[in-house]
Amino acid sequence: MNSAQLLRAIGDVDSVYVDVTPIEELIRKKKPIIWIKWCAVAACLALMAGCGWRIVFPQDNTPVWMIHLDIMPLIHLVLIRRTLTVLLRRLPS
């Protein structure tokens, strides 16, 4: 037996293991998911804005009505994590 015979033997395997869909068709079907990339970029920007706000306006000078911003980075992190988890689940395996 050699590689030629092995290649020939692979041709005799059961149809359950073979996908006869032309690969060009499969490539056409698999559209690039651009919006996931942009969602990730937007999430990162939101995180940076949240953290940046804290640096520009330190806690001591922060007006009372802005105190809730202290926890903004944490909220962002949780939201980003949840969004990414949902998005990744939706990706085709």
């Binding site: 290649l7 020939r8 033997a9 293991y17 032309p22 490539i27």
Partner: protein
């Protein structure tokens, strides 16, 4: 026209079956034959043989999946033709898949046992059943459909290197399986 109607036409020896056969995955058959033979003349000769085989065999054979059957006959006829031409012309350029599969046998062909084709097919079935779905799909697309690594990578959403590595790992597993079954000594 669905598979059942086409089979009926073939069994009835209708002339329209030939054109219908050409419509049914005709381009796919050309592609798969060309990937193996890489020569227009050989492809045409191969496709004529395929028509002939399908025309003569369909009468008696119970065919469940016509698309798979046609693709399988085309692929195997092209591989047989390639092997024949390779022996005759001492092969100008070897197919990449041959070189890849040679990894399973190492450098020495003499250390290989003579084995019945059915035993090899059974071993392959057992081997494929143990593989994870994606690894099996990639292996079969490469060595059954003869798709390029680039095409496979773009469908899987992986890098070409990752697909190459995955194929290499699968070939190593196959080598171990063939050794275990005594097909490779």
């Amino acid at each position: 026209m669905d598979d059942h109607e086409l089979l009926e036409l073939l069994r009835a020896r209708s002339e329209s079956a030939v054109s219908a056969l050409s419509d049914t995955c005709g381009a796919y058959r050309c592609t798969i034959a060309f990937r193996i033979l890489q020569n227009d003349e050989d492809v045409q000769e191969c496709l004529n043989d395929v028509y002939m085989k399908i025309w003569t065999v369909t009468e008696n054979k119970d065919i469940r999946e016509l698309k798979y059957y046609i693709a399988s006959v085309t692929r195997n006829t092209a591989v047989d033709m390639y092997n024949k031409h390779k022996a005759e012309r001492c092969a100008e350029r070897e197919l990449a898949v041959f070189e890849e599969l040679q990894e399973c046998f190492g450098s020495c062909d003499d250390a290989v046992a003579l084995t019945d084709a059915i035993v090899i097919t059974d071993t392959l079935h057992a081997f494929l059943a143990t593989l994870p779905a994606q690894e099996r799909w990639v292996f079969m697309r490469r060595y059954w459909n003869m798709d390029s690594i680039r095409q496979i990578a773009s469908v899987c959403g992986k890098r070409e290197d990752a697909v190459r590595k995955m194929l290499s790992r699968t070939r190593q597993k196959l080598k171990i399986q063939l050794e275990k079954e005594g097909i490779i000594l």
